[in-house]
Symmetry: C2
Subunit: 195 residues, 2 copies
């Protein structure tokens, strides 16, 4: 069924937000950016979405000021702007709701406050110190519902089986080694990623 | 471009949430249900969306257990279940983000804690008592960005120019009067709504 591309006549801030991030896949791209995914090929590899759709969504997100293109070491990278980072409560609340009502084995990801290790609740507060925890001070860690990675999973999936600070670039072990100048112990999988 | 109807291979709770509430218009219907809209004709009147789309979205929302059909006074009504009410942090965080980045004249709606009148922040906490405020204890009130209702606006828009407790059924003045047995002072507009 054909629908207009915007919510005509809906001046509400919710409708305006949905015009920017309500497209299919868009919030999953934003979520991956919080996880530290930055490269086009890595979004494709992790999200397994059509290339043309990713290109169109990244274009819309940069046009809306949610993401920005920055020079990476070998490739252009995408990162969240302040406007994009401010979407953390949206991502967190949607994920918590899915955990509460759709995740039979419990949450796949848990969030901790980097400062004191306290668990972050669905409202984004640290259960230890009671303060709101910005994305940049949040550690994502595997939860009880996270299945072990499969053989054909993306390196991003594997990297996210360990704790990781939100927004910090997620790098392959090989990329980190090559950056630090140490002799890389590159697996065939890793080497394919840093062509 | 054709896309699959689900996020194939995305087991994340965010993807599962989006499968339920990520369709175009769905979150605006849920928002209206928080405002107290309950009748099919009133969703149509307020949202000005195609009837077939509303029917399809309400069907999906009831199948997913987010909304349920209940007998109203004269018509079937739709109301949020506990699962649906648990979406309040999602609606609030999306609306706050839109307010912060897309609303030039300031928020159109403000939220207050019914218990002490404290303002509710984007994380759903009362700025006076510091407690998280459930939807049912929240008063929605007009904010500085709310434009005055236009002549052809729905009665829902007009009703929401005053403070209103979330989830409490929004009724026309005429409907309230007829319920309380007092002689109704019905305007032509109101009488059209309670056919």
């Amino acid at each position: 069924m054909a629908l207009p591309n915007d919510y005509t006549g809906q001046a509400c801030s919710l409708a305006r937000s949905l015009e920017i991030i309500g497209e299919r896949w868009t919030l999953l791209i934003v979520r991956d950016a919080f996880w530290g995914v930055r490269r086009y090929a890595d979004f494709i590899d992790h999200l397994r979405m059509p290339r043309a759709v990713l290109a169109s969504r990244l274009k819309a997100l940069t046009a809306a000021g949610v993401m920005t293109r920055v020079a990476g070491e070998r490739h252009l990278e995408y990162e969240l702007t302040d406007k994009g980072t401010a979407l953390w409560p949206v991502v967190l609340s949607l994920m918590s709701w899915g955990d509460d009502f759709c995740a039979l084995d419990g949450p796949r990801r848990l969030f901790r406050h980097a400062a004191d290790g306290g668990q972050v609740d669905q409202w984004g507060r640290c259960e230890t110190c009671g303060k709101p925890v910005p994305a940049a001070d949040t550690i994502v860690a595997p939860g009880p519902g996270l299945e072990p990675p499969a053989d054909d999973d993306s390196w991003v999936t594997t990297a996210l089986t360990g704790p990781h600070r939100l927004l910090e670039p997620l790098r392959t072990a090989a990329a980190v080694l090559s950056r630090t100048g140490r002799s890389p112990e590159v697996t065939p999988r890793d080497s394919a990623k840093i062509e």
